[in-house]
Subunit: 348 residues, 4 copies
């Protein structure tokens, strides 16, 4: 059994990791850390874990690196960048959930940081060239070698997986791609403030950060690396009253020579050997991926306007976060990428 | 007091009318009819109405036209077209909630009917030239004279109000406009079948009729009449787990000479004297129009891509249905259009 | 028009008052105050009020008492007790939403305060003998004369109205009455902390303060005053994932001489001329009182066990709070108690 | 691997079995049957199963009994009673989800049937003496030998597990026990009709079958067999807007000699070696058992009234249905009862 530590264990990201690793046949959780709840058993914080995981939560500084095989940082932005160096020195591979290690240059990070409203430079800029963007469907080979993986943003996963086949194959004509995202409230985390109290979220939908959401930077970088040129993404996120799930609807101009059938085939072929991406002729329901690491994608050609509509559905806490991270960990540790993740959705 | 009849009284559309007319100072409900629940008091069907409206539900054929000042047909498609002639003959103005009278030619209706999957011709094609599309913000003058008004589709209201200022003023460049809609489940009506049972809708979002929703026909017709040329709308509706509310996000190419400030001003000016359209600098929440006849609209210019994002929010059962119908009725009967409708949203 | 001030205007209690008073024909809002959001228009805090109520929020200390006819304190516990004396001196009648003025002796208050975990004595103990418990269905005569009214707790309303006929008429045998309450999340207020974030409340039910909820004190006091002796209430509240609504199920031992029919008649007679209490043979739905000042009550005699089951449904923010307060205000100001409150529920 | 058939595979009960058996190390699904959806792959009915279970749904009559080790009948009332004899003859153990085999005499069944409003006698009355009530925490020894197991009703599980320690040990004084249940909507099944459409269930709570719910019969029978005498249960179920979960609050008179500590210890001891019952000092949340086979139970002694409050939480589709059935199957097939079921709740 490989030995894992989770730093940031008492948020929804950490919880997602615990849930998955508890059923993982080759990775076991050995240490938990967080800023809050230090000294408590994690099952005091999340009572449903009682008897399944009763480890005590430590301070991040008190993690013992001896014998660790991998570390997950399900920490907020700018937490991992000062903590991860120690792990790097000791050659322990890490996966970070924030934007800290999603970019390979300080300049790209600066754009992200500006969107987020952060002050200050990256505190471990020298490590950025070592990092790999943790999307196994595109970068599995490099993830296998990586010592630091930046786990993608949840919306970014839904967009990149939906667009890669169209962009990489040349189906997508040049020009701005419009992405309209809908996310459940759990994406805002466990302590997300007054706006996400039940009475305010109940029976309510609204958009936010229209055109300025921080995940756009990484989507454009990845599409660029896939031959997408300097194409722009116009992304409008919306928060809807569901708990888990992201449905993103994308609108793409098509190069004239592609018809519906060839586009469907191109999508199917592109993800042919990817265990978690399912191309479907039925409109995806987020309920069909709840608790699952799958991404459902439906490409539709609109006959009247000649545009390609792509709809993708993920669970923001699984393929959009902890599930994707374990998929990366599997690759980094030499396992099949689907080990411990191959379970159907939780329905109804 | 003007005397009204409601045909189709026991669905959500009829209920919406009853709710509004109960507090209307100048219109009173005199007769109710429906296919289901004939012989029951409407307060047996909707117990919260007990003591407020206890009228007995009759068969549509049993409505007594004597002395009626107006009739609302909150009936499904193809019901009104055979019933309304009798009212027309007796010079009683009618407002129909279905697609039956939203078009002035049999040809336009045929396109709509095909999208809906209906068989058969329009059964009152000779009346179509008499009809007016019931959107007061655009057609108040003609509604005032009309004897048959086709109440708009709920999604259509959200799109047309969001797009009219951009199309009519020339802000919108030519080309397809993308509209991404999110609707609550009440839009599917009171008897909407297995797919809308609580366990199937709970924690679920999905798209449907991508590019082929029947409301697109009327949106394109109205924009055309507003100088929009033969511009196309690509509309993807999504059903989200809320009860009431539509949020539609629209993506429009801008003619270069318009900047953010002038566009915001153009929107504000366009709806300057329209009591129910509110142009706002805050992203609309559907909860802020729940139970209200308002339409909140936020136009945003995206600096990076140069596109105009327009977000509109309505209550699908009020400005998207019964509220808009009463607004039309007010105009037809010579009242101020906001009589009986000027109440704030139901929040939280 | 009578002139009202609302202190505590930016919580759900204050909002409820604003909503009702905006449609009240004889009371107008003249001043708003709160600790938070001072200097803002209330329509910045609650955007749906824009154009309906744009008054600026003042500090409670800055309320101008000149010309005021009534003041509502929708403030937390221990806020009103130090503020209300000023109003009392100037002879302005007040209605307080907290537990501060629900009791007429410092001793009774002390029991309440202990249940709530408060430190310290009542700061206006000399005013307690002046106060009246604000339940019009029982104390209308005294409310009419009162200068300080303590608006009841929301759960207390649902219990007292459900039990009064049984206790006062002698239907209820002696002994503990069991009350099992279910409340929506809005009852916890606008700033209710992490436990009421959407992801934690979604798809979740739990009990709390089993047997020790603070509303029990006032229920027992009122039943005692209605001839209930020193009977005890065992109350278990539960929080369920709805927004508004309280459903309380009560279990009462019956004196042998009462059968189902006579009990139903006793309940109907008891509330015969009470406009907001509806005795029904159909199980109450909280959705049927949403937004309404009604209390639906169904008494059922269980043949097998001989017990009386009483089920009551209210909207916790209306009959459980602001609606009940306006009903009191109507009485205090000499209006019919139902003025401004006689609207059907908001459904669906 | 043991070979299982599921009859009634396309409802929520069948789906629950598929979900669990897919991860079961010793039981594999070999055949699926249902009345609806015959000829389809089950993954057409439940798209999230695609790639996990793509078996074709057969008619119940077409199940091939050869080589079967166990059969689950997740069928409605009165379906299993005519189908199960064939399995019984071939010595294939069966577990039935309906009330058909929860009683050992036609007389007891008749009481149940009357509550349900069924016409007609039991069609396999001769098999009733062979049946065992499938509650492993009480009847594991007999389940081990059984050829026909009647899987308990979901509410019954929540009541019986909450009451057994009090009744069996003599903590509970004689007299009626009051049980107040709250259930999610999935308990009504996949095709539960207009009353369970999203708009009708959303933001709504109501009681139903007050005192007459069919599960009471089996609760009283089991408590009687545990020494409870002819004690009566007064049960009021309520439907609340959550998807999964039952929270039942029970009110029990205590024999004077038991105090809070000894009662808590008695509960803990009673379930000492039962893997799925957790006695807790924290009020149970249904979210903490969502997707889990656990039953959380909190016994509380109310100091003021001297009554015992017992709160139990289960997932109605797991410990209340499919999970409990697999627990029985494990015992019948000679496995440890927790095999395949030992997973934490799905949270958040």
């Amino acid at each position: 059994m490989k030995k894992a530590a989770i730093i940031g264990a008492t948020g929804f990201g950490g919880l997602g990791l615990i849930d998955i690793l508890l059923r993982h046949p080759h990775i076991e959780i050995r240490q938990l850390a967080a800023r809050k709840d230090v000294g408590k058993q994690v099952s005091e914080v999340f009572p449903h874990l009682k008897g399944f995981c009763d480890l005590v939560v430590h301070s991040p500084e008190d993690i013992d690196l001896t014998g660790l095989d991998i570390a997950f940082f399900s920490t907020p932005d700018r937490a991992g960048m000062s903590l991860i160096r120690e792990f790097y020195k000791k050659n322990i591979p890490v996966i970070d959930f924030s934007g800290d290690f999603r970019f390979t240059t300080p300049g790209d990070y600066a754009v992200y940081a500006r969107n987020r409203g952060f002050e200050g430079d990256h505190l471990a800029a020298d490590l950025l060239p070592e990092t790999v963007y943790g999307l196994p469907e595109k970068f599995a080979d490099r993830i296998k070698q990586a010592r630091i993986v930046g786990n993608p943003g949840c919306f970014a996963v839904s967009m990149i997986l939906g667009l890669l086949p169209a962009v990489e194959s040349g189906i997508a004509a040049s020009g701005t791609i419009i992405c309209d995202g809908k996310t459940g409230v759990s994406g805002a985390g466990k302590n997300s403030g007054e706006a996400n109290l039940y009475p305010q979220r109940h029976d309510n939908v609204n958009s936010y950060r229209e055109g300025t959401h921080q995940h756009v930077v990484e989507v454009e970088k990845v599409l660029q690396s896939a031959g997408g040129g300097d194409r722009k993404i116009l992304f409008v996120p919306q928060i809807v009253p569901l708990n888990r799930g992201i449905l993103t609807t994308m609108y793409v101009d098509i190069n004239k020579r592609y018809d519906a059938e060839s586009i469907f085939r191109a999508y199917s072929d592109y993800y042919n050997n990817k265990p978690f991406v399912v191309i479907t002729e039925r409109s995806p329901n987020t309920a069909d991926v709840r608790g699952s690491n799958r991404c459902l994608i439906r490409p539709i050609v609109d006959g009247r306007t000649g545009k390609l509509i792509v709809i993708s559905a993920i669970d923001n806490l699984v393929k959009g976060q902890a599930g994707n991270a374990v998929q990366c960990a599997n690759i980094m540790l030499g396992f099949d990428e689907s080990v411990g993740l191959d379970v159907p959705a939780f329905y109804p």
